[in-house]
Amino acid sequence: MIAFYSKKIISLITTIILVSLITFLVFQVLPGNPAYIILGVEADPLQIEALEAKLNLDKPLIERYLIWVGDLLRGDLGESIRFQRPVAEMIGSRVEVTLLLTVLSLFLSIIISIPLAIWLALNSEKSWSKWVTALSQVGLAVPSFWLAIILIYIFSIALHWLPAGQYERLADDPIKALQSLILPTIALAIGITAILVRYLRNNLLDQMESEYVRTAMSKGLNSHEILYRHVLQNSLLPMLTILGMITAEILGGSIVVENVFALPGIGNLIAISIGSRDLPLIQALVIYLAIVVVMINFVVDIVYTVIDPRIRLR
């Protein structure tokens, strides 16, 4: 047990060091100076110099990186170069949207995909079932940003049913907050639903051909009982693993979708921080994402052992 946790923690630390180093290296080769990006071509050269000095940009990048590592070890994420606000506060204020978006789209795809997959598996011989399965291929292929644009066009511009963006904080206006999340949730959920349906359907079909199903059949159980009592339980377990991966995928997809819908989430902040070469901010964001992904996989591992006691943590 202890060995398991220490292994996880070591892998978390290695991931963080690696991602921060990679981000740092990418920023070294990426052209662009934050002071110029902030002030643009209208600035008085005096202003640019003053800002560079204020932001320590006159120091070499490696020195700034070491200062940043030192601060991080003391628990200080530093200040955003672009916005001159504490990074922790900026990320904190944006967790709400991304968390809601992730949970909602995951929830939506699960409640759609499980019954749909069962239904497709039970009717796998029928030709329309094959058509629906083929349709899920389309769901896989369609990029979420394209879906997002189409959804905005139909539901915001043509029909005026739902807002495109204009997110209000949950605490300020819960109805408006959820309304503005409906379209982004759908845009994200369609691709994931397609993955889950295909995965679960194939899994169910595989299981139904296995020997314990034949045994159950020969005992005289009807096919529904076999499906819900045995096959489904065995098929849902591997789905947990894929859920871990899918959550990471949603976080990636949210970068695109949040930007299309202008939602104030983590993904939107990532795009801003890269555009403005805001090293402290992007470093903190990358590390935040690394921690979230490692943690989710960690939770999946634990849930695994709870559901199936045969699996032991090693």
């Binding site: 047990m1 990426l30 052209p31 662009g32 100076n33 110029y36 990006i37 902030i38 002030l39 643009g40 071509v41 209208e42 600035a43 008085d44 050269p45 005096l46 202003q47 003053a50 800002l51 000095a53 672009r82 916005f83 001159q84 606000r85 922790a88 506060e89 900026m90 990320i91 904190g92 204020s93 944006r94 967790v95 709400e96 968390l99 905005i152 066009y153 915001s156 511009i157 005026h160 807002p163 495109a164 963006g165 204009q166 997110y167 904080r169 605490a171 202008a262 104030p264 939107n268 902040l269 795009a271 801003i272 555009g275 403005s276 921690i291 943690m295 960690f298 939770v299 634990i302 709870v306």
Partner: protein
């Protein structure tokens, strides 16, 4: 047991975000206690009359560079924050300097002493009374007379600032500076207030409420604004940050935005439901050539480009005819300073070919046009320009780069052949033309002309307005003769307003004057 502990940890990790969020909300909305009660009173008043705050929404295309006015330079930031801050003087829609926090001013005959009579009964947004102490503090900070680094080179000529009495101010300059009156439009901030970078306050018709990066800037009405004539009708204004022109159209069509400036290409999508108004915006769109790099170090090559590039064609193709052709680095909207007599390069392909041949390129050459990819307008222009250049055998490859890369390669390192960019105009011609002074640090076109340097220096100390105007006109003439760049157009600012929105004002600098906007209720 351990498992439960781990679960709790994970949940806590996820919740940390939400908690920080609340803390932040409290801290940014925390105001001095007086202020809080005032706001509370007003809210109860609002609730009593049972009215929704009258709100107008519009769009800006880039993030605010800084909410502290002295640290900001971007045109979009000025467009928003000029509603919050005011200078001693201000400007009207024709670019004339008008009284603001100063009721009147006087300049001594030697042009060295400026006296201002300050306006009484003006309060800052935190309730503090405005007086000479605030002006002394502001000018000293801008000029670097307070022992710290100067914040603006426009004030580097100030030798002293003195409060004669509570409402009279005297500023002394080291040498005459004809641009100083325009510099006096710089924001005056209250002395002894140290939260300007988080909760900025000024004296303007609107108060700053919040700025969420990537989202919007919110301002609310200043009920105590001193100028009855400019008292806003709107209770609240929202500036959404939308960089994609298509998203602006979507925002208008979905009702998110009441009005916004749009890409002229999108007029056809909106003109049925929206009122479209347009005016020159004092911006110089140009094809800049690296004067320090071959073949553009040869004036004949630059002139050949000027002969071959057809501005009217570009304006028609790219700006949907919403643009004014330019002849030099000055927009016709700059009225008195604009040199309207320059007419050097009527389209002439044979002449262009001859010039190129004389310069040693009878068959043309290969070159690149570096354009910032986020400005679709400039990218489109580059495409038309590249096509036109083919007529004289010049094959231009269009290199689209990200904005940060453009600033670094072109604007900072001067590492480019040609580029297309828009330079926003200023109220003061010196600030527009100083770009070409040989020792100006961001002289990215590498222009170097002794006569030009001499004229620009002379103009800034010339007290006689007529002579000064003449000097600036000569500067424009030199830029045109030397064919420093191809000055393409001043693209019009095209604004779409939904029915019921009125009062939009065009200024010669970027300023979304929200106090002038009227909504039908």
């Amino acid at each position: 047991m351990k498992k439960i502990a781990i679960f709790m940890l994970v949940i806590m990790l996820l919740l940390v975000g939400c908690t920080t969020n609340q803390v932040e909300n409290n801290s940014t909305t925390a105001l001095p206690s007086e202020q809080t009660t005032a706001v509370a009173d007003q809210q109860t008043a609002d609730q009593a009359t049972d009215q929704e705050p009258l709100t107008a929404s519009t769009a800006i295309s880039s993030e605010l560079d800084n909410i502290d006015p002295w640290l900001s330079a971007a045109a979009d930031t000025k467009a928003v924050m000029s509603n919050v801050f005011e200078g001693l003087l201000w400007y009207d829609t024709s670019g004339n300097i008008v009284p603001a926090l100063a009721k009147s001013w006087q300049i001594s005959d030697d042009g060295l002493t400026y006296s201002f009579a300050l306006r009484e009964n003006v309060t800052f947004h935190n309730g503090d009374q405005f007086d000479a102490a605030d002006v002394v503090y502001s000018i000293e900070a801008l000029a670097g007379l307070n022992g710290e680094e100067a914040l603006s080179s426009r004030f580097s000529g100030v030798s002293s600032v003195e409060a004669v009495d509570q409402m009279t101010l005297k500023i002394t300059l080291k040498e005459p500076d004809t641009a100083f009156l325009v510099a006096c439009t710089e924001a005056i901030l209250p002395v002894g207030y140290d939260r300007q970078t988080t909760q900025p306050i000024g004296t303007g018709p609107f108060k700053f409420e919040s700025y969420e990066p990537g989202q919007k800037v919110v301002l609310v009405k200043n009920d105590n604004y001193w100028d009855e004539a400019r008292l806003p009708q709107l209770d609240k204004v929202e500036f959404y940050i939308i960089s994609d022109p298509t998203a602006v159209v979507n925002g208008l069509k979905s009702g998110q935005l009441d009005f916004a400036d749009i890409d002229p290409k999108n007029i056809a999508l909106l003109e049925n439901e929206f009122e479209i108004v347009a005016a020159p915006q004092n911006m110089i769109q140009l094809l800049a050539m690296n004067n320090q790099r071959a073949p553009y170090d040869d004036v004949r090559v630059r002139q050949a480009f000027n002969y071959v590039i057809n501005k009217e064609q570009i304006i028609k193709a790219v700006a949907n005819s919403y643009g004014s052709a330019l002849t030099s680095n000055m927009s016709p909207i700059m009225d008195v300073y604009y040199n309207g007599e320059i007419n050097l390069y009527a389209n002439d392909i044979d002449k262009a070919k001859t010039l190129l041949a004389e310069a040693g390129y009878p068959d043309g050459f290969n070159t690149t046009i570096t354009v910032p990819a986020n400005y679709q307008f400039h990218v489109d222009t580059a495409q038309v320009v590249a096509n036109q250049l083919l007529q004289i055998g010049v094959k231009a490859e269009i290199k689209q780069v990200e904005w940060g890369v453009w600033l670094d390669e072109v604007y900072k390192q001067f590492n480019y052949d040609t580029t297309i960019i828009g330079l926003a105009g200023k109220l003061d011609p010196h600030q527009v033309l100083v770009r070409y002074q040989s020792d100006y640090k961001r002289n990215f076109m590498g222009f170097n002309d002794d006569e030009y340097d001499r004229l620009i220096a002379q103009a800034s100390v010339e007290n006689d307005m007529t002579k000064r105007v003449e000097l600036y006109k000569q500067c424009q003439q030199i830029l045109a003769e030397q064919a420093t760049a191809v000055y393409i157009m001043d693209p019009n600012l095209v604004v779409a307003m939904r029915p019921g929105v009125a009062g939009f004002k065009f200024y010669p600098v970027r300023f979304l004057d929200m106090a002038a906007i009227r909504l039908d209720q």
